[in-house]
Symmetry: C2
Subunit: 250 residues, 2 copies
């Protein structure tokens, strides 16, 4: 017995991460992806056994999710998944619009490093390549949304404003925007099924978004904070308008 018995003794209290954190991300994922339906009760016992922990970390995680606004809580009656209505989605878009626009403007005020700028360019070019590929598919769409998300996170990070970053992450803003209308079921429930089909060419709104990204990137490269902020604001609000027009067209 010369070896330390550290590596994997009991496996029970042997976590790299607190169980509360694990449960938190897991349950949040289940809610955001719609695996747990809105309005459903969140029985602590069931979640605990499902995830292989006791109720204590589950209850902690649910408290956090309540603060985040994803679930609601009634004294002695447990937790339920909040039902996110169309109005909430629009509200979240408005909130994100101003936060992200400001982040964009601040990033220019702060100044972009050459590395950041080149990363930004690569994200934009990746999106352009996908749009210009001459074809379209679920795979390409997923990829474009990947570039989209990378573009937006980079801008938000470049603002160096951690408060805005966590404000965007917080509340419903982040979950809802997983990737507008397609990935996030919270949003896609408001989009008619036929509009969710995969066409042969990139849909108009993606072409338009790609152009928006390029315009924003250009404004950033030209150090025009005011323009960059305005372009980013318009970009997000276009998404809101599109969602409204699409949702009412049933």
């Amino acid at each position: 017995m010369t070896r330390k018995s550290k590596p994997a003794a009991h496996d029970r209290h042997q976590r790299a991460e607190p169980a509360t954190t694990t449960v938190l991300t897991q349950v949040r994922e289940l809610i955001v992806t719609g695996a747990i339906a809105p309005g459903a009760r969140l029985a602590a016992e069931k979640i605990a056994t499902d995830l292989g922990v006791s109720r204590t970390p589950v209850r902690s995680a649910l408290a956090v999710l309540t603060a985040e606004g994803l679930v609601s809580h009634s004294m002695n009656r447990g937790y339920t998944v909040k039902d996110i209505g169309f109005r909430d989605v629009l509200d979240a878009i408005d909130a994100r619009a101003v936060l992200e626009a400001k982040a964009c403007g601040l990033s220019v005020d702060y100044g972009w490093s050459v590395e950041e700028l080149s990363t930004l360019r690569s994200h934009v070019e990746r999106g352009r390549a996908i749009v210009d590929a001459g074809r379209w598919s679920e795979e390409l769409e997923r990829e474009w949304y990947g570039a989209n998300r990378a573009f937006h996170s980079l801008v938000i990070r470049a603002s160096r404003n951690t408060i805005i970053r966590s404000a965007i992450r917080m509340t419903l803003i982040h979950p809802i925007f997983g990737d507008i209308a397609r990935i996030s079921p919270v949003v896609s429930q408001y989009v008619p099924r036929r509009l969710r089909a995969i066409p042969d060419a990139p849909p108009d709104h993606i072409v338009e978004s790609q152009q928006d990204h390029e315009a924003v990137a250009a404004a950033i490269e030209q150090d025009d904070a005011v323009l960059a902020e305005k372009l980013m604001l318009d970009h997000t609000l276009k998404g809101k308008k599109r969602l409204i027009s699409v949702a009412t067209r049933r």
Copy 2:
């Protein structure tokens, strides 16, 4: 024994509110008011005995505070109060500026009820009366800040945007803004002591803020959403500029 034995039986499990919620607000208050210094460790056992509960609700509350960004957490090493720097305060002001400005614009878009408008007027007039009182005191200043807070909350509520509301409440934005520079020690630590003295007449920044409120209220009454949004944005950013000029003047 004809009376119901409901009112106050054991007092132990007889809460109108979960202990987690109580602990949450209590500890948050302690942190925001500076009663617990930044960087201090938050020993669960001590907090529990101090507040007369067990460690379980305390741990839940600390998890929420971590999500809110007020405390940081290290695995197996407990929780510590996050040290909020000047940069964080400025970041929070930027975030709040755009959120509250948007809320203001949205409130006009949505439309104000006559009751809301009259409440708004009364808050503005209360502030005006205090500023015009011809004297000044700690008491008057507290009152003016009360009217200030009422004014801002009303505008935010009138936006009908619950996401923006909780975004403002969340992260550090709300605590920091308890009442700029005076009430909140998080901010006032950056303000030289001599500037915190109580003068005989209302200080310039309060007179200016009062004027701003009146201008915003006027724009709201005239249904000018764009103007109201811009005025509110400028109002908050003025506070940021003032804080910067005051903090660097040591």
